[in-house]
């Protein structure tokens, strides 16, 4: 009887001790992001190749490292649910192109720099974790950059980048929501507007 009680107690304790969600391996997530930034800086930005080759390498790295389908869906918010399959596909495509071209233009800012990683922070979302880092700036303090990583069956992808407390996903989401609200053209108008920026 006593033994049974102890076993039940132990089981109960273990249930409490066990995290409510499947935790992401912090070390693995950090290594993943570190690898992405190192690749980006060493093999693309600092590499001695043509700009076209840099852009091509970057597009590949970007698509491998970031889960744009996931991000695009979040960014479109409630409008995702009302969008047609064609609109969804087109939006993700345009959003992907826009991000690739935007970041390609920013290469010079990261020339000769290195991200310094400082561990991870748990997330309340399932299978996700924050990887903390800083990057030196030309002027003033280093910038705080946090990477939101999603672990989908052992396959890691970046789903958000938070620069100085500002999440790119939340900003885009709010911006697009405001645009759609003030624009009778809705999602189609948004896609057209984004296309004009690529």
């Amino acid at each position: 009887m006593k033994k049974n009680f102890a076993a039940v107690l132990a089981a109960a304790l273990m249930m409490f001790a066990a995290p409510a969600r499947a935790d992401v391996d912090g070390a693995k997530a950090e290594a993943f992001v570190k690898n992405v930034t190192t690749q980006g800086i060493e093999q693309i930005i600092n590499a001695n190749v043509s700009q076209a080759e840099k852009d091509a390498r970057f597009a590949k790295l970007f698509n491998e490292a970031l889960d744009l389908d996931f991000i695009g869906q979040f960014v479109l918010g409630r409008n995702w649910r009302t969008a047609t399959p064609e609109q969804r596909k087109e939006f993700i495509k345009v959003y992907r192109q826009l991000n690739v071209s935007t970041w390609s233009k920013r290469f010079d800012e990261f020339k000769g720099k290195e991200f310094i990683f400082s561990g991870t922070t748990p997330s309340s979302s399932k299978g996700q974790i924050f990887v903390n880092s800083t990057v030196p700036m030309d002027q003033g303090e280093p910038a705080k950059v946090v990477w939101r990583v999603r672990d989908k069956n052992g396959n890691m992808k970046i789903v958000d980048i938070i620069i100085e407390n500002v999440s790119l996903a939340i900003t885009a989401r709010n911006e697009y929501a405001a645009f759609i609200k003030n624009n009778p053209g809705g999602v189609d108008a948004l896609i057209a507007n984004l296309k004009s920026k690529i």
Binding site: G77, R106, S124, I170, N174, N182, N193
Partner: protein, 267 residues
Amino acid sequence: MNVCKKLAQNLVLVLLVLFSASCAFDGRIHRSEAEADPFESINRPIFEFNYQFDKYILKPLAKGYRAITNQFIRERIHGIITNIKEPISMVNHLLQADPKATVVSLNRFVINSTLGLAGMFDVADGWGLKKEETGFNATLAHWCIKDGPYIVLPFWGPSTPRATVGLIADGFANPVYWATLNDANVRDKIIYSYAAVSSVSMREAALDIGDDLERNSVDFYATMRSAYLQNQSKLRCFNDDGSAGQTYDFDFGIEEEDAAFDEMEEE
């Protein structure tokens, strides 16, 4: 001068009204941005005015400043301005009951003002005295005072009533103000020069990122509002143990999308 006084009095009154209005807003991290911006119809025109002012005056000045200086000189000027503001951080670290940070700020100010040649070089940083900037807005947040609705100040930009009070209080804590109190004539000149130099220097530093943001934005007002409000939400009340998690740690999962949307978009 009389006009200034009257203006200041009116401003304080307006802020008080906004402040009390802000009590009606709760401090939910994920309050929707439309909820945080009840004065959007007034804010948008002011934002547009600031945008034009920036486009035709401030931005060209910042570009000119970049053209006639090099990185080295700009860093030295940035250093001087940063050093002048160090006492603001010091006072506010004290008000936030953080004696260690207060002493670090004090030491930084003494060391960088002397050995660092008026702040041109951050000598203290090399000695392990890291800069930790803070202001009265952060102090008010520390005392659990809510930020209130989003407002756009003419010439200045995104703010909240709390941030505006912080801005004014920081102005009084700025050595440029109190070190020149004796002579009103000299003071005005110094204050205006300081304001001009620091805004151009700040604008220059933000030239590239500002252009990028604007180029990619489909609604620049909404972009700036979102970025500002997210950045403000890092300021926490002293008894907030952080159990609410990081402010950007909203429910980011497609499985839970309906719940997340309902939470974020209650309007």
